[in-house]
Homo-oligomer: 577 residues x 2
């Protein structure tokens, strides 16, 4: 289990501070993550890795010459926010554009996508690339739905080396696409990891069994079987990957190989396994090019391992073998340029989510009362979410990584603080809710953080600054929030997301206020419908970014996102809507 931390809530921040203090010759901390200690060459594409923390050396351990230009660091197993990604992108870009690279998870796709959009809109060409190497996470017909696991290491390596050679943004993306198309990973887990501050592991595997294809955040795998011997496991992994040999690499015999330990399956065990793996791959006619055996993409102290094959062509082999010099990975010979040693003091990360310094539009007349109501509503949400934090975590642990309660609390804490500050400054409802939404997204990270942030911002956007809103304006705000959430998350009703509670609420509130019902009564009735709808999600199967086996496992459990929305809405009823 994870035992060393100060406050579990600041685990990632504390980790980044220590990481920066340990490696001043390679990296420096910036808001949202880290970048190289010395500026990359002018016009070089900035390659940024990123994702939740808990996977070191992924992702920040490979920032340095020849590899990544920076890394965006989220909370444990949680996507960083779009604001973090934007910030690191700004720090790292040097005239050649930005490529964000990450594993294919809904929260990462969403947050990095937003950051890329914002950078592009500001004149910095930015793209994203999601790695999909995990063959157990979706069938062959659905390649694009597969998750990204240890194979990301190869994809980040070749794309970074291409950028170092001077390829332009399109060229770097092409290398990433080609490497990803030729990369396959199969993983197994023997025991779960424990998040900082938790007493129980995220998931368990029965003693003596292995979970084949189990994800690096405990996402369910394809099967469970006896763990017999290292030799048998080697056969399972090699046969599984060879059956997935990419069509376009039919003629290629040279492969990059990664035998990756997840955390507590240690080096000697990996070498025992490697003895058989190397022989089986050679028997299959493959030539191994600088195989890596060790811990490259971990999951805290999870027990298990994965095998990755990347079928190389001449160009990819050159890029795979190119030199690199990073805190966690070195290869080949590097230019002997002196490295500036940055004092730890200078590289301390800036505080996250610095309060916006631009002046906010001020509330006049009855609008000040609306701003006060918004703060009270956030306070009520704060209370109920903290009360239910553990219960929401348990719901999420059934089919997710169990951090929904934590993420909602981090989000609402930040949103409430931002709203209180804005209210003290006399802000109108629209800028107040925008500040609250931005803070929520920046601090919570993950999928829910991005959605709640966008929803709050949209809810406020149409509210007047000089009078109390009409019931129809509240209804329009609710619809705008729903539309922002669905536009960002791409979920439709029935996909087992918070949309399944949000949509009935918005529909009922619009209908009832449209029919002239008192706003408070309409709100209470609509919130009650959201509660019923959230409970009904128990019978649905999830869709967004989730693999097939997950669907089976989650049936019978309400969706945590829909549940938390319903909880918040019902907590607002006593406020009078």
């Amino acid at each position: 289990m994870t035992r060393l931390f100060n406050d579990p809530a600041t685990f990632a921040e504390d980790m980044v501070a220590g990481f920066a203090a340990a490696h001043p010759e390679h990296i420096r901390a910036v808001h949202g993550g880290v970048v190289r200690a010395r500026k990359s060459p002018q016009a070089k594409v900035a390659v940024l890795t990123g994702g939740g923390s808990g996977h070191y050396p992924a992702f920040c351990g490979v920032v340095g010459d020849g590899f990544a230009d920076g890394s965006v660091i989220g909370n444990v197993f949680t996507s960083p926010s779009a604001a973090q990604a934007y910030s690191v992108g700004r720090e790292a870009e040097n005239g050649g554009g930005v490529l964000f690279m990450f594993g294919n998870y809904a929260g990462d796709v969403m947050n990095f996508g937003q950051a890329a959009q914002r950078l592009t809109s500001e004149g910095v060409p930015a793209r994203t690339f999601a790695v999909t190497d995990d063959i157990a996470s979706a069938p062959r017909e659905d390649l694009a739905k597969r998750r990204g696991i240890a194979g990301g290491f190869t994809v980040y390596k070749t794309a970074s080396a291409a950028a170092e050679e001077g390829a332009d943004l399109d060229g770097v993306v092409r290398i990433a696409e080609r490497t990803n198309a030729r990369t396959r990973t199969l993983g197994v887990a023997f025991a779960g990891c424990t998040l900082p501050g938790q007493r129980e592991p995220l998931f368990t595997v029965p003693e003596g069994k292995l979970g084949l294809g189990l994800g690096i955040h405990g996402e369910p795998g394809v099967s469970e079987s006896e763990l017999t011997s290292a030799a048998d496991l080697a056969r399972t992994l090699v046969e599984g990957l060879l059956a997935e040999r990419p069509e376009e690499a039919r003629e290629d015999r040279r492969v990059a190989v990664i035998l990756n330990g997840l955390g507590s399956t240690k080096y000697e065990e990996l070498y025992v396994l490697w003895g058989t793996v190397a022989r089986l791959l050679a028997d299959a006619g493959l030539e191994l090019v600088r195989p890596e055996v060790g811990e490259l993409v971990t999951s805290l102290d999870m027990a298990g391992c994965s095998l990755t094959l990347t079928w190389l062509d001449e160009e990819l082999e050159r890029l795979w073998l190119a030199p690199a010099d990073t805190p966690a990975f070195r290869r080949g010979q590097l230019a002997d340029a002196p490295r500036p040693v940055v004092a730890a003091r200078d590289s301390a990360p800036e505080p996250r989510a610095a309060a916006a310094s631009s002046p906010l539009e001020t509330a006049t007349g009855a609008a000040a009362g609306t701003s006060a109501t918004a703060v009270r509503a956030l306070r009520a949400a704060h209370t109920v979410l903290h009360e239910q934090e553990e219960a929401l975590g348990r719901l999420d642990a059934v089919a997710g990584d169990g951090d929904h309660g934590r993420g909602m609390c981090k989000g609402v804490d930040a949103a409430l603080a931002a709203a209180e500050k804005a209210h003290a400054d006399g802000a109108a409802p629209a800028p107040l809710l925008a500040a609250a939404g931005d803070a929520w997204a920046a601090e919570a990270g993950g999928t829910s953080g991005a959605l709640w942030g966008a929803g709050l911002r949209a809810l406020g956007a149409g509210l007047p600054a000089d009078r109390a809103p009409e019931p129809a304006e509240w209804a329009a705000g609710a619809r705008a929030a729903r539309d922002a959430v669905t536009a960002l998350g791409k979920a439709e009703p029935g996909d087992k997301t918070l949309v399944d509670a949000l949509d009935p609420f918005v529909t009922a509130f619009t209908r009832r206020t449209g029919a002239g019902e008192e706003p408070a009564a309409a709100f209470a009735a609509a919130a009650e419908e959201a509660r019923t709808a959230a409970e009904a999600t128990a019978e649905l199967r999830p869709r967004l970014g989730r693999a097939r086996p997950l669907a089976e496992r989650s049936i019978g459990t309400p969706d945590p996102g829909a549940t938390s929305l319903a909880l918040v809405l019902n907590a607002l009823i006593p406020l009078g809507g």
Copy 2:
């Protein structure tokens, strides 16, 4: 726990085979361990690290340019045999002599000492150096009795760099001595590791507690306390080390630092801890020189960590920073010489304990019957040791690492096979017992292996080749065996070792046969005395290479070595002595 293996009995061999297959550009396997893939420069001192396996990257992960010339690899947590060390020394030496470096444990001191002696007697100057950095393992007045843990990394690094610079054997030893004298480590453990094939961990620490000073094989520490926060642990470690600042480094402010994870305490946790450690060390006026945060000396999947400080002078700092290129550790810039890639097939380790190929002295007359008796005796020992393997392991687990039963079985298996082969070749008793003893020592490794090997060889040395021995010759053989064991192990009666059972046996057998008693009856009575004496060791405190707290813990438990000797002697009674 350790889950990946084929046969637990061949775990180390399988690991070495996989390790060699993964790193042909750095190392090649030889009998007993590994050496650099390319020959070191002529007349360079060969620096060899070594010890039990289970600690990767220690010790074999640091073989390569700028670091070690080779590594001797024992079974898990078990000293390699003298034969292994000799073999790797022979392979690695290149005209400059050999330095064996290892942690201060009785088995390692003994086996590497024997190997160095043999090499020296054959004209290859060889020395040994035992690292003693663990401040928790013995008080300041007993520096030389301290165990070696993660601080060995610094000592091996500077000594290796000195050898690479061209220092001669005395010069390299001086660097090792100076570095060791300036190196202090304090470790903590939160949970034990599990040996391959075992279902239960070697030791446990109560949930939420930390064992301060707990050894890397589970040797008892100095205290047990609450694990509160990473910051508190950082204070404990830093304050503990600063209180042990070496007198000779009073003026030195620059330190090499290692924050080492033991296996399942992961990188992010170490970085959280590092944040406070780095600040406290800076507050104490120290300047950190290329600190290392990560896994350098592990103990399978043990949970815990250690902090090492080495106070540097100018020369040691240069050696600490010198370039190195090994499978697990790289530093600085290295010459870009092409590396020969050795095919995996060519680097496969030779079978261990190859049968002696020189002709053995042949038994004539009644001596053939004596040889047959010796084989029957080894077969009876084989039976009783395998029956009692688990019980002996449990005895050893109280104050040791629980491998005594396994080690005795490995030894007797090899000894019986060697004796049977020698008997089939018609060997006389003396060469037969010498072959059995050598095989025992080579295969079992550890302290017991070396002692039993020496004892068997000495027992046979005086036996005639052409007739049955007289009772006085058997008694002389028994005394020779006892003298060989005490000369090698330096134990005296009362030290809680197998000498406590061996000495009463030898004394009683000598006295009874000297008084004219029938040898069979004398043997039975003497074996019975050994049994009583072995049981009485329960009340003794151990001495050899053991730290103070161990003594307290082992009181009430008989010594496993004395117990196994008594078991074997009593199993021989039915044979008629």
